[in-house]
Every structure is written in structure tokens, then in C-alpha cells.
């Protein structure tokens, strides 16, 4: 029994769905960021599964995984800086309350 491309793609779709739930449903801004990390991980699994099963001699998917990792790192740094600034000025990281304070 071997795992094939479909298994990995299904897994990645499921992981993406879970991450999406984290983004849509969590109240804590940092928990939302964690959901985004899950979604990016799902994308990386997809890239590497395609690389392994469809084009093992191409370097292109790997390059894009590296780009995704870079973006994830940048997103985490900037996102957390924003969240900490929000925390400083609003005293909360609860997305509901931050939304209510506008205008």
C-alpha cells in the first residue's frame, strides 16, 4: 500500500479547511494568525506533493515553497507587530471588540 498524490491533496485540503475555520471563527487575533499558518502549511504540502508525484526533476515547486516560507515569516513578523500595537492602544486582542471601536 502506498500513498499517492490524491492522499496528499486531500490531506492538504482538509488542513486548509481547518486553518480557514481558525481564521474565520477565532476571536483572538493571534489565534487567527495561527490559522493562517495552518493554511500556508497546507499550500506547502500541495506544492511538495505536486513536485514529488508530477515533476520530481523540476526545481520550480521547491522554489515556490521557499517563497511561501519567506512570506509566512514576513507575515508572522508584521502581523504580530500589528497585533502588539493594537494591544497597546486598545488593551485587547479580541477582534470583536477591536471592530466595535471603529468610528
Amino acid at each position: 500500500m502506498t500513498a499517492n498524490l490524491t492522499h496528499y491533496l486531500a490531506l492538504s485540503a482538509a488542513l486548509f479547511g481547518i486553518g480557514l475555520y481558525g481564521v474565520l471563527a477565532r476571536r483572538n487575533a493571534i489565534a487567527v494568525l495561527m490559522g493562517i499558518e495552518l493554511m500556508l502549511n497546507a499550500a506547502n504540502i500541495n506544492f511538495l506533493a505536486f513536485w514529488r508525484f508530477l515533476a520530481p526533476n523540476s526545481v520550480e515547486p521547491q522554489v515556490y515553497v521557499l517563497v511561501v516560507l519567506t512570506v509566512a515569516a514576513a507575515e508572522a513578523a508584521v502581523g504580530l507587530a500589528v497585533v502588539l500595537n493594537v494591544y497597546r492602544s486598545f488593551g485587547t486582542v479580541n477582534l470583536d471588540e477591536i471592530a466595535r471601536l471603529k468610528g
Binding site: M1, A3, N4, L5, T6, H7, Y8, L9, L11, A13, A14, F16, G17, I18, G19, L20, Y21, L24, A25, R26, R27, I30, A31, L33, M34, E37, L38, N41, N44, I45, L48, R52, F53, L54, N57, V59, E60, Q62, V63, Y64, L66, L69, T70, V71, A73, A74, A76, A77, V78, L80, A81, V83, L84, N85, Y87, G91, V93, N94, L95, D96
Partner: protein, 196 residues
């Protein structure tokens, strides 16, 4: 090895999905952060089962070693505002569940039904992979590489600006729990009143 064994894939996949569910479902957000660690490691394991050895290490190094630490750091700095006993989900959560099930299952089904070409080729060894990736980054794929470094630079500057901005306006009000002191004062004044 042409394809990874299902006995490697299944435990890793179920671990990744279970820990991911715990990440989004844990009431205590610090626990959610710590569930992310085994999740990232399981994904690293999945990369390993795909023979992408370099990315196993990069996943641990960047995700587990740097990004997650940053997230935990932020969680600890904001620890006093999200009580685990509060509701942890927004009012959209009931809507989000079917949507996410739809996206997850629909995506999985769509991916499964798509006619992927069946190619059975061995992956190159880890040394060749890493070498080819390095050559690719300074050769054909120099543009994505440069774009990625530009993004990093922008993020660097942006994060510094955001961190510095808090010094410009009036000093932010420190969050101090005064309850203990107020109680103390009350008891002191009560005692003084008794004395008189």
C-alpha cells in the same frame, strides 16, 4: 522507493489533522499555540515522506524554530486579555463551520477527482536536490528569490516602524491590576475608621 508507504503517511496525516483541530479548538490560546508545534512537526514529517529532505529541516528551522516562538511570545505578552473561560469564537463561528467543511471536503473531492497524470519517477537524492535548488535560486528562479528577499526587507522595515511608532505618542498606559491595592486601601481606611 517510488511512493511513500501508507503506513508512513497515515499516522503523520492523522497527527497533522488532529493537532490542527486542537489548534483551532483549544479554549486556552496558549495551549493552541503549543498544539501548533506537533502540527508543524507532523507537516515536516510529511515533507520527509515526500523525500523533500531540505524542507523537513527548513520547516523545523523557520516554522517551529522562529515563527512559532514569535507567536508564543506575542501570546505571553497579551496573556491577561483573553480569559480561557470567555467565549473563544466570533459570532460568525456557526456559519464558519459549514463553510470550512465545504471548502475542506469540496477541495479534497475536487483534487481527488481531477485526472492527474500518473508519473512514477524516483526523486533525486537529498544532495542533488539541495544543490539544484541552490543553483536554481541564482539561475532561472532568481526573480522569485529576489522578490522573496524584497518581501523580507519590507517586512523588516515595517516591523521596525510598527515597533518604533509606539514611542511617538504619549506613553501607553501600562496595564496594571490595581484591585489588590484598592482592597488594601479600603481595609486600611476601614481600620482607621474603626479606631476613631
Amino acid at each position: 522507493m517510488i511512493s511513500p508507504s501508507i503506513f508512513v503517511f497515515a499516522p503523520l496525516a492523522s497527527a497533522a489533522l488532529f493537532t490542527a483541530l486542537m489548534v483551532v479548538r483549544s479554549r486556552n490560546v496558549i495551549h493552541a499555540g503549543y498544539w501548533l508545534l506537533p502540527c508543524l512537526l507532523a507537516v515536516a514529517g510529511l515533507f520527509g515522506s515526500l523525500e523533500a529532505h531540505f524542507f523537513v529541516v527548513v520547516q523545523i528551522l523557520i516554522y517551529a524554530g522562529a515563527i512559532l516562538i514569535l507567536i508564543l511570545f506575542a501570546l505571553m505578552l497579551t496573556r491577561d486579555v483573553m480569559d480561557p473561560k470567555q467565549r473563544q469564537t466570533t459570532k460568525f463561528a456557526p456559519l464558519a463551520v459549514p463553510l470550512c467543511i465545504f471548502v475542506g471536503l469540496g477541495g479534497a473531492l475536487m483534487m481527488a477527482r481531477a485526472p492527474w497524470p500518473a508519473i512514477q519517477a524516483a526523486a533525486p537524492g537529498p544532495a542533488e536536490q539541495t544543490k539544484a535548488l541552490g543553483l536554481g535560486l541564482i539561475g532561472d528562479y532568481a526573480l522569485p528569490f529576489e522578490v522573496a528577499s524584497l518581501i523580507l526587507l519590507a517586512a523588516l522595515i515595517g516591523a521596525i516602524c510598527l515597533a518604533k511608532a509606539e514611542k511617538e505618542p504619549a506613553a501607553p498606559e501600562p496595564v496594571i491590576d490595581l484591585r489588590g491595592e484598592i482592597e488594601l486601601e479600603e481595609s486600611v481606611s476601614a481600620g482607621a475608621a474603626d479606631g476613631h
